[in-house]
Symmetry: C2
Subunit: 341 residues, 2 copies
């Protein structure tokens, strides 16, 4: 391993001087600068980041914790896209991403603690929609830089990047209303999740505003699983007055809904229309392809990275706390105009 000393010796200068040309520091004669740079090339010198970090107290690394399979089911489908967004920006800004995991909540907290207290990262990215997340509490109390992708009901003074889910659900529902639908149902996710609550609210707002009926039999709660949508259908469609359109909390659930409907003999969109959320890759491949709200997963990751790095670099940036990434409706074929009979 070639060190700064080797370079210094070879150049006939002191290590301080070499250090200064590396950091592009003030007033080193152009002559020595270029000579030293040449020697660094020759010797294949690369600064030891551990040594650098030790003295600079900075790592140029962002930390993230891999969501646990059981917990954040629906995060998994987004994970690649999130990561791609995060790493793209981070790399551009000269940061890398350190990933760890914990099998239980306790282990997760420990893993984060080691990262933070062990000075391995300059900031943390959090993928979470849990209530009462102990990791949020820890980072918040420690005043360590972090940004949450999602929304925390407990803290409103933390940096977060999120979708406006109320608005998104409002838009989805509005699209159905514009097609002439008057009996619109909602297939939701776990009722304790913020995301389910927000999307439910947007759905209800749109109905209310249009003066349309809102029957509780038309809403079902479930998991972020295909099975969940699948099972809901026999129940909902055997109602005396079934809905003619459905807002579905998530694309995967919508795929289950589609399967369920097909099985019991309903055609989409002829008999019933569907709008869902997230625009995962699969939605183009179903038949019919799904009309869905694109929430800009890559963009969420990219912006989260941007926000975090900004907050690391400006001490106490004047940035907004909560950044909303715009969503947009992607119209495909699962939602159509209602046929008046």
């Amino acid at each position: 391993m070639v060190t700064i000393k080797d370079v210094a010796k070879r150049a006939g200068v002191s290590p301080s001087t070499v250090s200064r040309v590396i950091s592009g520091s003030t007033r080193i004669s152009p002559a020595t600068t270029s000579r030293i740079k040449l020697i660094m090339e020759e010797l294949g010198y690369h600064p030891n980041m551990m040594a650098k970090s030790l003295v600079s107290k900075t790592t140029r690394t962002l930390g993230i914790i891999l969501p646990r399979p059981a917990e954040e089911m629906f995060l998994n489908l987004f994970f690649s896209e999130f990561i791609r967004g995060i790493v793209s920006h981070a790399s551009r800004a000269g940061y890398d991403l350190l990933m760890t995991s914990g099998a239980t909540e306790r282990e997760e907290v420990e893993a984060i603690t080691r990262m933070v207290k062990g000075r391995r990262v300059d900031g943390i990215l959090l993928l979470s929609s849990r209530r009462n997340d102990p990791v949020i509490r820890f980072l918040h109390d420690d005043r360590f830089p972090f940004v949450l992708i999602g929304r925390s009901p407990e803290f409103d003074d933390i940096l977060s990047v999120d979708t406006n889910n109320v608005q998104a659900a409002y838009d989805a529902t509005k699209h159905l209303i514009a097609q002439g639908h008057e009996r619109i149902g909602f297939v939701s996710g776990p009722p304790h999740l913020v995301i389910s609550q927000d999307r439910m609210e947007g759905y209800q707002q749109a109905l209310k505003e249009a003066g349309l009926p809102m029957k509780h039999q038309w809403t079902v709660e479930g998991e972020f699983l295909q099975e969940s949508g699948y099972r809901a259908m026999s129940m909902i469609m055997s109602l005396p007055e079934p809905p003619t359109a459905l807002v579905v909390i998530d694309d995967v659930v919508a795929i289950g809904v589609l399967r369920g409907l097909t099985e019991i003999g309903f055609k989409v969109p002829e008999d019933i229309s569907l709008v869902s959320f997230n625009n995962i890759a699969m939605t183009q491949l179903t038949s019919p392809p799904l009309t869905t709200i694109d929430i800009g997963i890559y963009q969420l990751g990219y912006t989260a990275s941007q926000t975090l790095i900004a907050s690391i670099q400006d001490e106490e940036g004047s940035a907004r706390n909560r950044i909303l990434i715009p969503h947009r409706l992607v119209v495909r074929e699962s939602a159509g105009r209602i046929l008046k009979s």
Copy 2:
């Protein structure tokens, strides 16, 4: 930040002693050991990993490079699963994963070089199927620990974890033959990729062994894209003697194939059978669900991590160079018995 000195002072011992109890070192009196541990708790002491790394020349970190979107298209769908496998094992073994990226091949090499030469990681995981990968060359020449997920045609003395693609394609084809098919085609990927070549070979072996005809019009080459499979169909199915079954290089391509067949009026599996590879989540959701070869993506990642960490820890392990992860045929509904007419 509380350091080892603070703990030492509070305990009335030397920093060396504290360091020794941290590392669980030899013969420190049980009394001082437990007293120091208590004090560490009290003070909330956590070792500074940068300092530790600097002296131990070890980071407990594995490096990985995010595949570029353009390049390794089909890796992307696997990425979450790979990462999950890798991080699960790594965490268990006390390692974290450092992720970086580069927009071009040059930047990728630079990013890896910084990681390696900057002593930020103890080993590298490579997700690549490229020929003549400069990253492989660099790591190989540097004798830095790394494992390749995939196969390198250039080097046979490197650690790698892979699928036996020849065997997998043989098995897929065999399944079709067992259903009575005699005219079996192959929808392949980019011909220059090792994976396409290997799967083609397995397909051909199975046909030859069964004494079945092998017509070049029955094989098409394309990309790992849905469009690719879609487009191939009109051509293949308008042949005077079209195949009754198709082996398809990848699930995504198979979804395109499915769409193409449906569009021109062929039913799967009644008119034509399909077997593909990889068993991505989507394959359960198509209609009909796809019969496909599961290559154990999580397992590939998990084993890669295991292999890498083993090679980091045992200097020059006696391990096999190339580890094959078993695959298995997942029988769903896209491949059926041929109906003799």
